[in-house]
Amino acid sequence: MNAIILSALLGVVLMFTGIFTTNKSTIRTVATAGLLLLLLANIAEMNGWKLFEVNTRNMLVFNKFGLLFNTIAFSATLLYFLLSARDILKVGINGAEYFALIFFILCGVSIVSSFNTLLLLFLGIEIISIPLYILTGSDKRNLKSNEAALKYFLMGSFSTGIMLMGIVLMYGAKGTFSIDAALQASNPGREVWYTSGLLLLFISMAFKVSAAPFHFWTPDVYDGAPTVFTSFMATIVKAGVFIAFVRLFEYSFSGSGYDWKLIVSIVTAATLFIGNITAIFQQSVKRMLAYSSIAQAGFMLFALFSYNTLSREGIILYTLGYSLATIGIFAVLVKMKDYTFEGFNGLARTQPVLAATTTIFLLSLAGIPMTIGFFAKYFMLASAVKSGSHLWLVFFAILCAVVSVYYYFRVIQSMYFKDGAGATEEISPAFRWILLLMAGLIILFGIFPNMILNYLYF
């Protein structure tokens, strides 16, 4: 509860900051301090220290899983602010509003990580989506940004409609929005409503996490949006929606699980295939990352495919590893003058720290041991092996992971083994240190994943 209320309040505070000052460093400081406060408040709640006592009538449930995810999301956002706050302010003149919108999104993220009724799921997803439409179009004079925003908005509202339809059907079948109650209520004769409702929910959520075949918006939107916001969209937001997805299907409807395995496995395979194969052919690193985020979503879908403790631990590690690495790469990308692979040529000469840390981020995305990306993939694959059925999917995922090495390593090849200018904007020492910190975290958690997982149990 701490997180939901504070993030909404902080959003309002940031909006007012925008009225009273246009000083960029003030805005930045307020935003960063606010986020730190939010993170601390959430950690306080993890330790049982509640700032607000609200009777949610069981519409929200704050368990360790959700709170741990909140902590991860807020920490990732904090790092994102530290790396990219200056670049956020460069996007347009409404600096404070961008930060305010990000806080509102975080509010949505903390709702979807703790919802216990379909209504709040819907609210959370909408609170996430609407600020995102605005952020996507925030580069007002850029046609591509406008196009992306419009596309995202139209497709997004369409998927919202589908979600509502699904919720309605499920309500019709069970007579309640509450997930606990719906699991107990049995309403013979309306099974079809329930199943089709669930399918519609699945489709709309799959759209939000850009799972194939509902992924077509992703490359255009990620490419068109200002790069700083793409970074946020592709990491924290996506992870948040994934947590909602997992909560919805893994815990709430695990009873009807088996029928879903085939559908989920087909969607997973399609997502892995399309994401990885298309990423190979990209010339722009930004677009490659968009497809890679589809591919990574394919791995995260394993958490839906196999429901057990391993997948629960895995999705936490995956969101953490994926967010850290992707935020890092995007932060470097924002600083590049040229977004193509050639633009990275010779970066190791001009900016050795950037090149080295980007290499670690890429290795983590590729799932090489010693990085958290490895354990993320490990838990996903192990959970699927444990669940025992559809082993073909595991092998398919392996092949895709090998394909992903090709395009991730292309960036490494450009940076280290090819000559070029590697032109970047000016890099501040603080930026380098944050990157090094993130790379250090990736390796630290890559050797001791227990440091994260223990929070789930103790």
């Binding site: 090489i368 041991p369 090998v402």
Partner: protein, 485 residues
Amino acid sequence: MVPVLLILIPLLTGVALFAIRQEATAKSIAFFSTLVSLAVMLAGMSVWKDAAHLSFNQPWIGALNSHFHLELDGMSQLLCLLTTLCFPLIIYSTWNNTYVDANRFFGLMLLAQAGLLGVFMAMDAMLFYFFWELALIPLYFLCSRWGGEKRIQVTIKFFIYTFLGSLFMLIGLIMLYFKAGGSFAWADFVKLSLTGREEMTIFILLVVAFAVKMPLFPFHTWQPDTYEQSPTAVTMILSAIMAKMGVFGLLRWLAPVVPAATYQWGDNFATLAVVGMLYASFVAIKQDDLKRLVAWSSIAHIGLMILALFAPSYSGIQGIMIQMFNHGINILGMWIVVNVIEQQFGTRKISELGGLAQKAPILTILLVIIALANIAMPLTNAFIGEFMMFNGIWGSTATKFGMVYAIAGIITIILSAVYTLRMVQNVFYGPTNERTEKAVDIRFNVQLALAILVVGIILIGIYPKPLLSMTTEISQQILDRMNLK
């Protein structure tokens, strides 16, 4: 304690080297670090021989019940000794090679050493996989950064090949983990009794990774290109040590873990090994590039070890063990010679060289001994290993075709004499040409490095018992698991 030191020394030095800018200092530090590792290893085999010093076991990832378990048993000792011995020799014998960013070069070399030593000592499957990849990443960077002209394409091919194999292995290890009731310990793996189908699946998953690493025909296509394109110091690591990772994997993680499937698939893989040996030998005869020649000859020699494993017997397995060590030092000697030639003449083409014996007698004497070891002449170390393997293959009770395999294998020994002696003849004898006219003999560092190897070759050739006695226990254990004698 010894295992931890063996990992930490190269790991920490390797990381520290990235911060040291002076190239000469970096090289000296790297060399010193490898010497310290060697000293620790030797101490572990003599002074600190008790189990408490040779084993290290701490819980690592609680959620997975994975332990940081390193242990130096006989087979590990043999391979760690090979690794710690080869590294100083590699650095010392290539002392005069110059590299851009030498500190990074040596840093990565040491990181690779840490990974390799870890692979040989890990007794926990998760840890094993960790080190398996940790050894690969530095080598990827070494080959792509300091290699020849086509290095980038060649190295990514190498990486993707091995990474695919590794991931299959990972799935195999995950399956074993669940079958063993949530444990990654090797000791639990070798107690499992699986159904035939399960063993079959796991066998296939594991064997791919090892087959790519060794490499086994038809998974070998990355190897000649990578050996050719890599800087020679790295090629030395790849062939002298990394190829042993695959053989080691077969002996530690495959045969004792899924014995029935190993037995069942034995003939198929033995046939592949034989085909690969013959094929590689014929290709080697046709090579004009020294590096490619040694690369193909390496495939043929490793093929014999694979054959001896899939047509197992006590003598054969013991032969593989000692031959892993022998092949490591022999091929290292060959590479040192290749490196000397390349550094001096700027070419590796056999057709462009000739008559070196007149100009460089010391090099020639040392090389000829190494070449004789390469074709397994009696009194050299390889004779012991290969004789034991042939003996084992011929008499193996696991296969009906032992005799056929042995005869086919012996043909490859003849072929190895053809290509090795042809190389010696064309490069070192005959008339000199304008390129080799001004040749000078090798420097002291190369002399010393080669001399150490030659002494090793002859000593093991005459008295192999110390090495053989190290591995009796594990060889027996593998055979017991396979219900063979």
